[in-house]
Structures are given as structure tokens and as C-alpha cells.
Amino acid sequence: MHRGTPAWGNHGRRLGGLLLICLLALSAVFAGALPAQANGPNRAGLVVRFGNGSVWSGCITFSEPQITGLELLRRSGLSLIIEEGGVYGGAVCKIGSDGCDFPYTSCFCQCEGADCLYWAYYHWQNGAWQYSNVGAGNYWVRPGDVEGWAWGSGTYGVNGALPPAVTFDQVCPPPATNTPTPLPTATWTPTPLSTSTPTRTPTPTSGPASIEFWADRTEIPAGQCLNLGWRVRNVQAVYLNDQGVVGEEVRQVCPTSDTTYVLRVVTLEGEEFRRIDVRVLPATATPSATATSASGASRLPTIPPATAAAPALPPTGTPTPPALTSTATHTPAALVMVGSLPPTTPPPPAAAVPQPTPPAPNTPKVWARAGEAPAPRGAATPTASPAEAPGPHWGEYGVFAGVASLLAALAAWAVRRQSA
């Protein structure tokens, strides 16, 4: 047959070339508009507020002139599940333990209809959190920006839960000039608490690292909870069971089986571990009403543990351990505020701020054994990260090649049989 329209092909090629030139020109324009590379590592702050009120904040260093909001979140080291998308650049489904297990569920599995819980995304601008108009994959974070994420209820695209108010200097304190801090890229300082007075004290991070890690009990009946507390100073990063956490927190945990809690602390010298083993006893008939009532009261950040440590009167005569209500679980939002005191004021006395430590003398506390690496127990070891990549399954691919070639041969045979 006579193919009479070669002109179409030429035309298409010309059009494609024109498109390519347009794209290149556009990219050149955009590239020119970018700010010049600043000297030194660029830093941006990140604040993440979880559903239980705890707050993670960190200062993320990057070498690029700017990175996307999603990339900033990825470099925080928090465990993430992100739905990768083409144009809109990815949606955040889960940070830490809050969110949706995409793709087993939809990425906004708790945001379908009237009650909408989701990760709201903010930029710190002009002294307030501004709800982001674009997705994190399409927003460029520049040095000095602070980005916020908060899990909570709201209307998608309009409003959401708010992260606690912080400024860049609180999240990323200016580095002391006399201390060489060999920060590799993409590290984060866990909390402003560790360097609460960055400029006045000349060596805020050069002091010896202090690590405190305790629990109020190590044996609980099934269904009950216990409080884990830690406070670290002069360190680079803190992980509880491989999740990034703030430097100072008291957290209520409710394990259902025997659990080992490992606090991994990254200092300038290396890593240190503290561990606490919690045994869960078989359930008894103890009414556990205090466990639920305590959670409401414990949210008050102004109760210092020393006063709250007076044993709450259990409603029944059972000897409920008083520890459940004693240590106030501080909303870590307040903890961030500790760090937000202006650097010009001297560090306030301990009474002015809620300090979960030192532990009240009359509360039973179990301190972690120091300097002990956790037992090598599979995924519990901090070195074996849970997101370890399995390699290709070569055996299965061999079988696949066999099945596929069989199928291809059958297909070819069927077609020949019909066309004869």
C-alpha cells in the first residue's frame, strides 16, 4: 500500500523539537531564578506533632540550595509512609505510628467524610503557622524555613491540627563558634532542650552527655500501662526503639506482651544504649479504671512530678500502683516551649518549668542499666533497621521465566492454529 503521508511524521518531529526547546528554556529560566548557593550547610527546622500530643522537632541540614518539603521530612529519619504520585508529588500517609498503612488502606483512610483526621502541613511564616496551599512535594524549603506537620482533625485543604509554635532559632540554635560540630548532612538535633542556652554559655554541646532513662514499673498486669521517661543532654539524636523522639519526655506505653525498650543515643563520640525490660503478667481482676482516668489528668503540664507523686486514692481497695497517676505526662508541646525561652535570659530555675526529672524520691522508678547494648534480638537491635531491603528473589524469577515462556509458546501456537 502506498504510504502517502510522510509529511505527518516530519510535522510531529518538528513539534516535538519545539516542545523540547520550550522545556529547556523554561528550565533555564527557573534555574536562573534560584538563589545562589549559600556557604556552609543549609538548615531548616521541622516540627511534627503526633496524635497523642507528643512533639518531635529537629534541625535538618542539607547541601542543596533548596529541597522539597517532602525531602525535608524524609531526611528527618522518622518512619514514614508516603504515597508517591506523579504530578502532585506525593502525599504523607503516616508519620511514626499515626496515619494510614498505605497501600493496604487508602492514604487518607481516616479522612473520608465528616470526621477527618490527617497530617496537616504548615509553613512558619510571619510568626504563625500558615496552612500550606500546595503539597509537600511541590513546596520548596529554603534555608531558615520551619516546616510543621500535625496529626489531627480538620477539613482537608482548609485547616487542620496545629503544631506548637516555634521559631527557627529554637529548632535550629546557631552553632557555637568555638565548638567544631562535625555534622554530616541529613542529621538532626533532636530537641532544642539539649541546647537551651546556645549563645550565652559558650560550650553548650561540649559538656559531657547525660542520659537518663527510667520506667515507673517493669512488671504490669496485661491491659495496664506504665510510664517511660527519659532526659538526655548534649547529644545529637535520640531514638526509642528506632523511632526519633524528643530529648525529654515521659510517655505512657501499654505493651501487651513482654517488651524491651531501648533508648539509642547518638553522641559526638558514638552511640550509647539504655534498655529496660518490661514484663507483662497475665491479666488479673484488678479494675483498671485508673489507667484511663489518669490519662486525662496527666496531660496537665504544670504539675511537677514531685507534687503529683502523692499516691492518688484508688477508687477501690486494690493496691493499684500509684505510679500510674503520679508522673505527669508532659505534653511535649510544653517541652518545646522550654527551649523557646529567648537566649538572652539565663536558664530559669527548675521550678518555673515542668521538669519530669529528677524523679520524685517517693515514686518507684526503675532506672535503665547504662552502657549496655541491647540483646541481639532480630529487629529489636537498633542496627537492623526495620526497612531493610530484601534483594531480588532470583529463584522465583527463574520459575516466572519458565511459566512466561510456556505461556508465550501456547499463545503463538493458538494463533497459528487459527490462522492456518
Binding site: 522465583e396 524469577y397 508465550a408
Partner: protein
């Protein structure tokens, strides 16, 4: 004896294949399903006069697939396996190009091409008029309109090809947009002529006059019932997704709406009496095709219910870019090749009692 399958058997095959294709992103299973569907498509296209038009449709799908892979690789810079890096100051495309992004684009594009292929096979194999005969009697008006609408695109494509060939014979060459005018004008004219012809022939055959007459009151009642039923279904679906906690409200509303509509349609259907001239025969190979499709779909669904990770594939971290493969599942996908094998071979086949119109050579 006819040389093809019953339209309902094709419907079962296409539904099962589409459900299965949408259920996984695992490229290995998708490739196997693709081979099975491709064999069916090739065998059908040897017999179907309309297959050539769907070939162009499939080429467009392949082109989209070829664009999807680099597009996704350039846009999504996430993954463990970095193939190479583009300068970071290039907007949007700058950054790491990862194996994960390539794999995701490949799998997504493949599932799209598969759906197009299933659709093309179904459309080349099934005469739309035969499928529309299956419609319930009360929908005769809608059925008529649908059949005209369905015939519109193939008719237009064939008219376009005829016009292009005629213009080529006259030495017309297409260089710029302006050269399209001699193509479009005759297309519009023939389209209008065809529509007029259709309307006249329908009127000549007494279209619309076959239904028994009813009182005006009953007519309005039936229309009101249909409208109310549709609104109830809509409200029910909305309520179900919006107040997900109180799912029963939505279910109740939807069920009520469907019942109302069913009642209205039943009364409407009694008005229309239809006779059939040619009956579609249901042969044993139709049963075999439906059984194999159903078995494959059911097996895959059960495997998914037993182990949610069996079909699961998502290349980006924290999941793995390397797909898993179970040969038992793979063989289930191969069952979709049934239409290619159940037809009698071309040598032994008897000539068709009602031969299909062949393509003019």
C-alpha cells in the same frame, strides 16, 4: 454452527479479567495476564472485521505506557536504588532517578495497557447489537439510543479511513493543520447524512409505537417512582461515604431506592412485548470459558483473602522494589487464555452459517 462465543460469556471473561488486572500492580502477574489476553486478542482479530480499528486504539495505549515510564522516573525521586542523578537545580526533574520510580511507572502503565487490551478484545469479539438484545424489555428506548451511540465511533473511524484513502488517491498530502479541512468537511457531511437515514428508517419501522398505552396518572407515577428511586440511591451512596460510622443509613437508602426502581421497571416492562428472530445459542465452550474465567478470578481473590501480601506490590520504600512470584498464582492468570483455545481450529471448522461481513480487499 457459529464460530464464536456467546456475548454473555465474553462479558464474564472481560469482567473477570478486568477485576484481576485492577487487583495487583505486581508486574510479573501483569505480564502473564498480558500474554493470555494478547493471545485471545490475536485469535479474535483473525476473525473479527472490527479488530483493525481497535489495533490503532491499542497503539495509543502503548504510546501512553512509553510516556508514563520516563515521566514517573523524572518526577518521583525516591528510592533505594539510584540509577543516576540529574543536576539538582533543574526544576522538577532534577535529582535522583531511581529504579523504584521506573518500576512503578512500568507497572502502572502495564495495568493501563492491559485494561485497554481487555476492552479491545471484548469490543472486537462482541457484536454490540447482539449484546444490546440482552437488555431488559423496558429499556428498549435506552437500548436503541445506546446502540446508535456505540455504533457511532466505529462508523466514524471507517468513514475517516475511506475519506483519507479517497483523498490520497487524488494526490492530496497532509502537511499542516489547514490540510485537515478536506478531511473534516466530508466527514461531517457523511455523519449528518447517516443520522438522517437512520431516523427515517426507524420511523418507517414504527419505532416507539409498540408499547401498550397507559393512563396519564400511571405514567406520571412510574416516572416519579424512577426519579425518587434514583435520588434515594444517590443519597444512600453519599451518606455511606460521608457518615462512614453510620453505614446502615446509606445501605437502607440505597436498598430502598433500588427496590423502588425495580418496581417501576417491572411495571414498565410489562407494557412491551418483544419477539426474537435469531436466538443466541449457548454452547459448551461458552460454559467452559465462563467456568475458567470464574475459577481464575475466584482463585486469585481467595489467595488475596488468605494472604494480603500475595498480590501486593508497591516499589517504594518501606516496601521492596523486587516483586514476588508464586507459580500457582501465575498459572491462574494463564487461564484467561481460554478464548484462544476453545474455538475449533481453522482447518476443521465448518463455514459459518451466517458469515460475518469480511473486510473489503
Amino acid at each position: 454452527m457459529r464460530q464464536d462465543y456467546h456475548p454473555l460469556a465474553w462479558l464474564a471473561w472481560a469482567t473477570a479479567a478486568a477485576v484481576v488486572a485492577l487487583m495487583t500492580l505486581n508486574p510479573l502477574y501483569l505480564i502473564l495476564l498480558g500474554l493470555a489476553v494478547l493471545a485471545s486478542y490475536r485469535v479474535i482479530s483473525l476473525r473479527s472485521p472490527t479488530a483493525r480499528q481497535w489495533g490503532a486504539f491499542l497503539k495509543a495505549g502503548l504510546l501512553i505506557w512509553a510516556i508514563t515510564i520516563p515521566f514517573n522516573a523524572l518526577m518521583s525521586h525516591y528510592g533505594r536504588y539510584v540509577l543516576f542523578r540529574l543536576p539538582a537545580d533543574w526544576p522538577l526533574v532534577g535529582g535522583a532517578i531511581t529504579l523504584e520510580a521506573v518500576a512503578y511507572g512500568f507497572a502502572r502503565g502495564l495495568s493501563l495497557v492491559l485494561l485497554l487490551m481487555i476492552f479491545a478484545t471484548f469490543n472486537s469479539a462482541v457484536d454490540t447489537a447482539r449484546l444490546l438484545r440482552r437488555m431488559p424489555a423496558f429499556l428498549y428506548l435506552a437500548g436503541m439510543i445506546t446502540s446508535i451511540a456505540l455504533a457511532f465511533v466505529p462508523q466514524m473511524i471507517s468513514a475517516l479511513q475511506e475519506i483519507r484513502e479517497a483523498q490520497r488517491v487524488r494526490g492530496h498530502r497532509f502537511r499542516t493543520i489547514r490540510d485537515l479541512l478536506p478531511l473534516i468537511m466530508p466527514l461531517l457531511t457523511t455523519g449528518l447524512e447517516r443520522a438522517m437515514q437512520l431516523a427515517e428508517s426507524m420511523e418507517a419501522r414504527g419505532f416507539g409505537g409498540s408499547a401498550a398505552s397507559i393512563s396519564r396518572l400511571l405514567d406520571y407515577t412510574l416516572k416519579g417512582m424512577t426519579l425518587a428511586g434514583l435520588l434515594a440511591v444517590l443519597a444512600g451512596l453519599f451518606a455511606r461515604s460521608y457518615w462512614s460510622r453510620q453505614a446502615w443509613i446509606g445501605i437502607l437508602l440505597t436498598a430502598g431506592g433500588l427496590l423502588l426502581m425495580a418496581a417501576a421497571f417491572w411495571v414498565q416492562g410489562r407494557r412491551v412485548r418483544r419477539t426474537r428472530y435469531r436466538h443466541d445459542l449457548w454452547l459448551s465452550r461458552d460454559t467452559l470459558m465462563v467456568a475458567s474465567s470464574a475459577a481464575a478470578a475466584a482463585g486469585i481473590l481467595i489467595a488475596r483473602a488468605l494472604n494480603r501480601a500475595a498480590l501486593f506490590y508497591y516499589p517504594y520504600p518501606p516496601y521492596s522494589v523486587w516483586p514476588t512470584f508464586d507459580w500457582r498464582l501465575g498459572l491462574l492468570y494463564a487461564l484467561f487464555m481460554a478464548p484462544a483455545w476453545l474455538l475449533p481450529s481453522a482447518r476443521t471448522a465448518q463455514p459459518d452459517q451466517y458469515p460475518l461481513p469480511r473486510e473489503p480487499l
